[in-house]
Each structure stands twice: as C-alpha cells, then as structure tokens.
Symmetry: C2
Subunit: 252 residues, 2 copies
C-alpha cells in the first residue's frame, strides 16, 4: 500500500482524495490544509491537520494548492529526501524545493467541486527526477486512471496551454454563439447537439480532417453575410481572425 498525504483542499485535491479512497493501491493517511474548516466534512474518513509540523510519514506528498503557493509550501516541509509532487499544469518540477525528491502528478481535466468525475478517464501526466520515484507514482496513478503518461515539464506546459484553447476558449465561443442566437430570440439549445457532435468527431478524426464550413470552402458570400450580420465589433474581429486561421491551416 502506498501511503500518501494530500496538501491543499481545492477542486483537484478533493477529487484526488476521492479517487484515492477508491484505489486499492493507495491509502491517504493524512490531509493538510491551512484552513482546517474545509476538511471538517472528511474528518471521519481521514486524519486532518493544519499544522505543517504535524505531517505524518508517507511515501508521497501531493501538493495541490494554487500555483503561486507550491514553491513556498515545498520549502516549509519539515523533512528531507521524501517524494514530494505537485499537481499543477504550469509549474516546473524544479520549482519544488530540492531538499526532497521531486515529481509532478498533473490530472488533465476540468474539475468542479460539485460535479463528480470518472477519474478512470482523466489523463494523468507524470514526471519525476528519479526512476524509482516514477515507478511509485505510476503505480499510484494507474490505480485511479486508465490514461497515464510520462510527460516532461515542457510538454506539460504545452498541454496546459492546449487545454486553455480547447476548454476556456472553446467555451467562450459557445458563449458568443449564445449571445448571437439569443439576440434574435432563437434558442441556444438548438446548437447543443452540434456542440456535442463537434467534440465527438475529433475523438476519432484529426481536427484537420474534421473541418467543414464556409472558411474551408472559401465561400465568400456566406462569410460576407455573416460579417454583415455581426453587429458587435468584437464578435466581428473574432469571426475574421478564426476564418483567417482556418484558411491558413488549409492553405486557402
């Protein structure tokens, strides 16, 4: 059994705790958070603490706090030569204090506290400096997810940036479509099957192959009609830049 301590009580920490509770390879021996209040609901399931000097002995320490606080909390740990990992998409492995063995355990998914997630389908990006530490992390990760990969800090930063495009930016395009449709009294709901189909299509096809529409076809009259319809200058700018982007990609 791999004994772990979780530090932090945000969305990732909470989902990680729940996933580990179901694992037969990992045991959460303690949960730390500066604000103990947030951990009270889990008091019956795990030992909780807000004292960094009270941390118990464990095989891995998971630092799952905001990016800015990772380095500081890794320095504050009152022990040496143990395996300490963070769960961030952007923070470099070397930002962890080198008095301990270091690693990264980054689950690449969007987490909401209120929405349960099937961790089996969450890709986990692993990085360590020592080979043996990798084996240990891999065993822990494999016990909660079917999709575990070795990913270095440069690749992880690229994945995190890619995630902003396919999650935050895509969601903003949904928002703009919402504004555009509702301004005429049309229902945004009518677009939902298309939203889902678009996401499903790239599960088995490359986005390059999946592309369709007026920009790809070079259909100038439709593009002109769309631009005329867009009253909001900001919407217009986004329409133009993404139309140009599609043309660039497909050599038109």
């Amino acid at each position: 059994m791999i004994k772990v301590v979780i530090l932090g009580a945000g969305n990732v920490a909470t989902h990680l705790f729940k996933a580990f509770q179901k694992s037969d390879k990992v045991m959460v021996v303690q949960w730390f958070n500066r604000d103990l209040e947030k951990l009270i609901p889990f008091n019956n399931e795990v030992g909780i603490t807000n004292g960094i000097s009270d941390l118990e002995s464990a095989d891995v320490y998971f630092i799952s706090v905001t990016d800015d606080a990772i380095s500081e909390i890794s320095e504050a740990l009152p022990f040496e030569d143990r395996l300490v990992v963070h769960t961030s998409g952007t923070v470099n492995i070397h930002d962890l204090d080198k008095k301990n063995r270091r690693g990264v355990f980054y689950p690449l998914q969007t987490f909401s506290k209120s929405v349960d997630i099937d961790f089996k389908k969450v890709p986990i990006c692993l990085e360590t400096i020592e080979k043996d530490d990798y084996k240990l992390l891999k065993t822990a990760a494999d016990s909660i997810s079917d999709f575990v990969k070795k990913v270095n800090s440069d690749q992880r930063a690229a994945l995190h940036l890619g995630a902003v495009f396919v999650n935050n930016f895509v969601n903003q395009l949904y928002r703009l479509a919402h504004e555009i449709t509702e301004s005429t009294g049309a229902e945004f709901d009518m677009l939902k099957p298309l939203i889902l189909e678009t996401a499903l299509k790239v599960q088995d096809n490359s986005p390059f192959r999946a592309q369709t529409g007026p920009a790809l076809r070079g259909d100038k009259s439709t593009i002109k009609a769309h631009l005329k319809r867009l009253q909001n200058e900001h919407h217009k700018d986004i329409y133009e830049i993404l139309t140009q982007s599609i043309k660039n990609t497909h050599g038109r």
Copy 2:
C-alpha cells in the same frame, strides 16, 4: 402518408432520404439529381430521375442543393401551388420562387456522407408562409426528429452563424491545440477527454457559468507565460483576442 420528392444528392439530401425511409409518416416517391450517377446506388429503393420535367406529384418537394442553386432550381420547377421547401441555414424563404407555396426545413447538424447520424437528435428548424403548410412539415419533421422548432429566417441565420462558431471555429481551436501540443512531442490525445467534458458541461450549464481558467481569474502570470510560449504570431493573436473576450464577458 406524406409523399415527398427530394432534389439534390449532397450530404443533407442523402441523410434526409435515409431518415424518411425509416419514417412511417413520410414516403419518398422520387429522387431527382442532375447527375443521375450519384443516385444509382438507391435505384432499388426509390424512383430516380435527372429530368426536371419528369417530377412526380407529391405533397412536399425538398430542394437540398448548394445555396447558390436553390433559387434557380425553384424557378425551374414545372408546376405551381405545391409546397416547395429548401434545407439551407442561410437562404431566405423568399428566395424560393413564389409560384409555389414556400417553406424551410433546416436540419441543424454537421453531416458527413460516411458517418451515420441519429436523426432523432438532430434539431430541425421549420418555417412556412402558410399555416397549413407548417402543420404538414411539422408532421414530417416530428416523424424523424425529437427536436423540431418553428424558426423564422432571421433566427435561422443567427443559428447558422452560431453553428459556425461552435462547430468550425471550435474545431479550429482543436487544431491549434493540436499544433501547440505536438510541437513539443506531447500527445493531442491527452486533450480529448477535456474536449468532450467541455462540450458535455454546456449541455446542462450556460457557457457563462461553465467558464474557468486564467482569463476568468485574471491570472496575469499564467497569461504572460502562455504568451511567451506561443512562438507563432497568429496563435498569439488568437490567444489575446479570446482572453480579452472572456474578460469582457465576465467584466474584468
């Protein structure tokens, strides 16, 4: 039984034919296309023709051809006062020749010839000039889809434009993420669960509520790191405009 004739042999026409073949309210009595070759595979299932003067009597004629050809083919029809509809998202109902009763039957989904689609889940936007024609179209549409709505030409144009945002533009963001991740040797596949989750999230939440990420949080250091990482000026422009868009929407 509602007798229909389909004109055109593109993706929409073909999927519509297949859906009507399964309907117990609609019978396709004839399929017209200028290039008869494309209809040969369906020769055993339906009468086919490439002669516009040979069109049979029917309750509805579905013009499912490229936008530019709709008006012309509606003028070429050798009869009057029958119900003629087109299946386009952008063409106005009044672009159909007024010698016939007019309507629109727009299925709002992305169709590929090779991919089977569950038409039950395809929203269909209906518009007619006469009330009785609406009833007839509604009966036909309800027999193949669970999601039929009355939508006027202005609303339909807005939905079509919204569809470009949530389908073509979203797909292009997938493509950019593909470029960004693969440039470091990271796998685009790792983003696929996130892509799906992002689309699923707005099935039950508004895109406004579903938003997360650095732009929403006003996390300047992450935004700065992302911009530094983006070498491609075009990627950078898109990052900046969509980050600004999220800030505008959420009043930051």
